[in-house]
Symmetry: C2
Subunit: 210 residues, 2 copies
């Protein structure tokens, strides 16, 4: 049975390793995340990392999970907007903004093979909560009567996410081919989507067209 100060030191070591790992990913990209590099930065030998983590993937997974919590925090802040349409735009901006500030984290979470499968499909609550924020905006949209009838709310939320992720990931890998900034790309796409799903606004006038 380990004593209190012992476990505390061990937890400190764990935290320091993760901290250095996060810094390396942020500064030098995900592929620079090397066991020996992490160890040196944290003041350990490479073998010591295996006393605190199962392997490199476990470290990466932990980074991804805390990254997902960061995304969730950004989306939560944006979801405070009351007007549902405004909320959607705020969510979109927050999503894109997160990916812009931490592109390597976004890549780790959503574009690295193997991670998202286990994180989102598994017990990761942050991911599910983040998606619920998106879905909630559409629910609010429906409750406010702003949606055309007969639309699947879950499908709309998925479409929204597809739009967000498509914009971000395409910009991330094909930035040379995509000249407009991601905010503009997404604004255009979102306009078309909203135009297709929102009920025609009551203008107060009677049928101005047709």
């Amino acid at each position: 049975m380990p004593s209190a100060p012992r476990t505390r030191r061990k937890e400190d070591a764990r935290a320091r390793i993760l901290e250095e790992a996060r810094r390396i990913v942020l500064e030098n990209g995900f592929e620079a995340l090397t066991m020996r590099r992490i160890a040196e930065a944290a003041g350990y030998s490479a073998a010591a990392l295996y006393l605190h983590f199962e392997n490199r993937d476990a470290i990466a997974r932990e980074l991804g999970e805390s990254g997902m919590q960061g995304l969730l925090a950004a989306l939560t802040e944006a979801a405070a907007a009351e007007d549902p349409v405004e909320r959607l735009r705020a969510l979109a901006l927050a999503y894109v903004g997160f990916a812009r500030i931490e592109p390597e984290t976004y890549r780790l979470i959503f574009m690295e093979p193997g991670f998202a499968a286990s994180a989102l499909g598994g017990k990761d609550e942050a991911g599910a909560a983040a998606f619920q924020l998106l879905a909630g905006a559409f629910e609010a949209l429906g409750n406010a009567g702003r949606l055309r009838p007969g639309q699947d709310l879950g499908g709309l939320a998925l479409t929204f996410w597809i739009l967000l992720h498509g914009t971000v990931s395409l910009k991330l890998t094909c930035s040379a081919f995509l000249s407009p900034p991601e905010e503009d790309l997404l604004a255009t796409a979102l306009d078309s989507l909203l135009n297709g799903i929102l009920a025609p606004e009551p203008t107060g006038l009677n049928l101005p067209e047709r």
Copy 2:
């Protein structure tokens, strides 16, 4: 100046190397594409590969370029549909279908850092031609008067591509979280998009609603 049979044998070797490399990616994934594995499969030593290719990235790039030509071929076939809306749906199905058959190739082209940047931004004509097929469908849509006025054709094509790539790449990395097949995901998203950008159809009847 090398003799004719010499250059022929050398070209054969190059082709055989690429062939084996492609097989390895298809069967065992992109990360299994190892110089030593390719060499063994092609009957060479690892060092011999460097007589035919600059490095591993050059082999991957070549695979990506021929993969892009495959995608272009699939899209070209789909673009034969005359009705612009049908063409859009056919293009979407062809895009998703390509990614389903060759997910590792798709990942190599559009999700691997470094490749798409050089391929699409550089002199790769297949990529540009593929995008032109998407843009052409919207041009046809505009020429047929099926689009609501005041919409940027290039922006619509980009939105369409974002939708396609978002669907495919999300399904590729988060398949555990996304239960519906990519065709359904895309159909929902495409319906919303079309609903937003298409001009209201003249039904022959007069204002059936409102």
